[in-house]
Structure formats: C-alpha cells, structure tokens
C-alpha cells in the first residue's frame, strides 16, 4: 500500500482537517491576531493531524506488503489463510476472519471430494479383484471343456477389466507401483504371452529381437502398456508386430512396429489426448480415445517417454524410452 493510496482512503479526514485549520486561521484573522500566530496555529493542527495517521499507515503498509509477498511466494494459493497472522487493526481483522472461514469451507468441500474419489477408487480396486475370481473360474471351465471361442472373449474381458484398474490407478496421486530392474525381453514376452489368443485369432505374426537390456520399471504396469499398444496394432489393421530395442547414450528405447494403416501426420500430435479418436477411429468405429491417453499417463507416472511415429499406409512405430537412472522422472 503506497502513501498516496493510504491518503486517498483518508480523504474525508484530511479534507475536514484542512477545513478546520482554514477556519481556525480565518477566526484568528478576525480576532486580529498577529500574522505569525494566525499561520502557526493551523500549521500545528495540520502537523498533529498528519502525525496521528503515521502509525496506522506504517502498520497497514507492513501488513499488506507481507500479505502480497506471501501470496506471490505461495504455490498453493488456497493455503494463504493458514499462513498469515491475524492483524491488529479492525478492517484487517474482518478480512482475516472472512478469509479464514472461506478457507475452512473450501477445505471441507475438498475433503469431501477427495474422500469420495478415494472411496470410488478403492471400490474399483476391490471390484477388479472380485471379478477376477469369476473370470478365472470361467476360464478354467472353458479350458476343461475345450471351449476356445469363449476363452478368447474371456481374455478380452480380462483385458478391459485391467484397463479399468489402470485407469483408476493412473489418476491416483499416491504411487502404487514398484520400480525394479527388469529384463526388457521378459517384459515383451510377457505381453505377447498375455495377448497370445487374441493375436493368434487375428493371424498376427509377432517377433521380438535385440531386447537384451535391463530397464527400471514396474513390470505389471509396463506389460499393460505393451498390451494396450498391441491391441491398437491389431485394431488398426496390422498383420505383423515387431519388437526391438536400442541402446541410447542416456537411455534404452523399446520399439513396437506394426504394418497397419498408420496415422495421418496432422493427427500424430493429438493421439495421446483423452477422447481423441481421429480419422482411423471414426473409420474403424471401435475407438474410445482412451487407450493411448492411458499409456501416456502411465508412462508419465513411471518416468518413461512415449512417442508414436507413422507413415500412413505403411504402419506405426511406438517408442518407449527408459531413462538409465532408477529414479522415475530423472534422466532423458
């Protein structure tokens, strides 16, 4: 708060002070007092009046300056009321109390929503684990009665159930993954084994080569991401999927190439956006705009890079970059 701002706020007081001083001078003049006395007395008035404003000005200036600085420094602005002190002047006290109660009501609302989203997330986790038991039962029944057609469908159901689980995990703020050193080749083989029936039913030719690298990641999460990418390769017309690895200076890259219909160049930058289905999605009609969005989100949490490159008509290559360090988010 600048001095000018403060004085503007005190306009009435200052105006009446001036008037009083003027009127006093006028009275003294009428009483034929000497010129010095006539001027001196109103001046004493004025000085006294302004001096009385000074402590208030200094206090308010210090308080509001502190408030602004705290606000600017604060990353989460909503915590302001919890940090500042209660001032000693009346308007400040009122402001402080109002801020405090707004803050409390915001926190209550936030608490309600985070609790309900946590409860929902816990429910999803529980539900996924519950439903896996009947799926496992159904699969065993099919295996024992040699019902292949249903088995393939059950594999699909299982995959979508996993997707729900990972979707709920992806928006969670806590980390519920475990980064370990894993053999890249084994992760790829796991994804191929898991999707075997679906890939075989679609006559997909699969290969995996040059994968003798160790990477730091959560195996379950990465397998899910690879299954999601494989699913896309099959969905968009691929008849061949190829995994290969590459050692970079500061990282290891895993590539998954297919020979499907590819993605138009102008859409490549948006394929990871939530709900984006693009031309292919409309043409094939089964896109949800979720798969790649989820892959990206999970990769971000694991500290991995993911990009797609494509030539329409020739195929798509997905690249996942594992930084060398074991701390997620560090490295390239």
């Amino acid at each position: 708060m600048s001095a000018a701002d403060f004085l503007r706020g005190k306009f009435l007081f200052i105006a009446s002070l001036m008037l009083t001083a003027g009127f006093a001078a006028f009275l003294l003049r009428m009483l034929n007092e000497g010129i010095y006395f006539t001027l001196l007395l109103p001046c004493v008035f004025l000085v006294g009046g302004f001096l009385s404003l000074l402590p208030e000005y200094l206090e308010k200036r210090a308080y509001y300056r502190g408030l602004r600085e705290t606000m600017a420094r604060l990353e989460e602005k909503r915590f302001l009321a919890e940090i500042i002190r209660r001032p000693h002047f009346r308007e400040g006290e009122i402001l402080y109390d109002v801020l405090k109660s707004i803050n409390k009501s915001c926190n209550d609302e936030l608490g309600k929503y985070s609790l309900s989203s946590l409860e929902y997330r816990e429910y999803i986790e529980l539900w996924v684990h519950e439903i896996k038991t009947p799926i496992a039962g159904a699969k065993l029944i099919c295996e024992n009665s040699q019902n292949r057609a249903v088995l393939t469908e059950l594999d699909r159901i299982e995959f979508f159930v996993e997707q729900a689980l990972f979707y709920s995990r992806s928006s969670n703020v806590e980390r519920d993954y475990l980064i370990k050193e894993m053999a890249l080749a084994e992760l790829v083989r796991g994804a191929l084994r898991g999707g075997a029936r679906y890939l075989i039913a679609h006559k997909i030719k699969a290969s995996a080569e040059d994968l003798d690298y160790a990477v730091f990641t959560d195996g379950k999460w990465l397998t899910f991401i690879l299954r999601q990418l494989l699913d896309n390769a099959v969905k968009y017309g691929g008849s061949e999927v190829r995994f290969w690895g590459r050692q970079n200076a500061q990282s290891v890259s895993l590539f998954l190439g297919d020979n499907g219909i590819g993605i138009p160049e102008r859409e490549l930058s948006r394929v990871f956006d939530k709900g984006f289905t693009g031309e292919n999605g409309r043409r094939f009609g089964r896109a949800t705009g979720l798969g790649l969005y989820l892959c990206k989100k999970l990769c971000l949490k694991l500290g991995l890079g993911i990009t797609l490159s494509s030539r329409p008509g020739e195929g798509t290559v997905a690249e996942i970059v594992f930084p060398k360090s074991d701390t997620p988010g560090a490295g390239s």
Binding site: K132, A136, E143, Q146, L192, D218
Partner: protein, 221 residues
C-alpha cells in the same frame, strides 16, 4: 503320483482346478474348512500347495508364513491381487512361485511340473507316453519301439500337446497358443513347417500316419 493341495475358497475355481490337475494325473486334495488350514495342510502332507491369498479366517500371507515355519513343501501363490508389491511380499514369506488370476493354465501346469521336479527329483517327470510313442522332454527326443529321433524345441512342444490331449483333436490356434506360452511366437506358416517336419521324423521311426490332420479342425495323434 504327486499329491497337490488346493487352498482356495471359491468353489468353482477349486473344482475346475481339481479336474484340470487330475487330467494331468495328479492326486488333488481340497478343503472347505479354512479355520485351521495350516494344520490341515501339514496333516495331509502334500507334495505341493496351491494357495489363494484372499481366504476366510486367515489370509494367505499368514498361512504361507506358518507353513514355511514347519515345512519346506513347494508353495505356489495363486491370487487376484497381482501388483508387484503382492508378488514381492509372497516371495518374502517363502512362496516358490506367484501366479496372478485369471491364470494361464499352461504356465501353471508347467510351473507345477518344474517345482515338483526340482523338489522330488527329475526322474520320470520329463517322460511322456502315448500309444507306442515315448517323449523325453528333457532330451527333446521321441522314441518308438527302440528307434529314436531328435526333435527341436518347438517340435517336442507340439508333440507334448498332442500326447497330452490323448488322441483328441487340437486346433492350430491352441497349438500356437501353447507355443507362444513357451515364448516361441510362431506364425501360421512356421507352424505348418514344424508340423511337417515332426510328421517326417515320426515317419522315420516307423510312425507313419501317426500324426493326423483333421481339415479345418486341427491335428491329433
């Protein structure tokens, strides 16, 4: 044959696992009373235990730990809790292997055979018989009436699947799936080549016409 104890509270899974394992000639013990599983498990003295984690009374972690205190029987944890954390936890408590539900039965069967082989000696576990044929999985060789032929890994796996289905037709997709589960990601053409070579090798040892093609359905012995 080996005795396997299934500790699983879901009736369907218990029964289906039981009939699956019985097909592979294991003796299967189950229980419906989970109040004192540890004592029951020790008393029934199985060669291997399949243990679910979500159980009434005590959870699988507790049972695993208690069993380990008194026995070194191989334990396979089968569960729908499938995070890396659960896997690590199970291993720390002494489980020998961890399979996530819904499991891949091919992998489960292979793992059971491997663990039993390791714990109680290899003899016989690598040998399979069907009709006149004997398949030695360890050596990857087939023999018939004293004559033998060496097989590649894929050929012996295909023969194993056909022998295990005991004359029933196995579809091409099923054979391919089984090969994929052992990390041989063969395609249609490769499978045809493998089958033809296997047929030739069987013919060499006098098994002409043993491997039959059922058009549009698959293969059988």
């Amino acid at each position: 044959m080996h005795r396997i104890l299934i500790i699983e509270d879901d009736k369907v899974i218990r029964e289906e696992l039981k009939s699956l394992l019985e097909k592979y000639l294991y003796t299967v013990i189950t229980t419906e009373d989970f109040s004192d599983v540890v004592r029951f498990a020790l008393a029934s003295n199985p060669h291997l235990i399949l243990l679910d984690l979500n159980l009434p009374f005590y959870d699988g972690y507790h049972i695993c730990r208690e069993l380990r205190r008194q026995s070194s029987v191989p334990i396979i944890v089968v569960t729908s809790r499938d995070s890396e954390m659960d896997e690590l936890m199970s291993m720390r408590l002494g489980a020998d292997y961890f399979v996530a539900k819904p499991y891949n039965t091919q992998i489960l069967i292979a793992k059971i055979a491997a663990l039993l082989g390791r714990a109680y000696g290899q003899e016989a576990s690598g040998l399979r018989h069907f009709g006149e044929l004997t398949l030695d999985m360890g050596k990857s060789a087939v023999s018939r009436e004293g004559k033998g032929a060496d097989l590649t890994k894929n050929e012996s796996r295909i023969l194993q699947i056909l022998m295990e289905s005991k004359g029933k037709i196995v579809s091409r997709d099923d054979i391919m799936n089984a090969l994929w589960q052992s990390d041989a990601f063969v395609d249609d053409n490769t499978l045809t080549v493998n089958i033809n070579r296997l047929r030739k090798k069987l013919a060499e040892i006098g098994g002409n016409g043993l491997l039959k093609t059922k058009r549009g359905q698959g293969y059988s012995l």
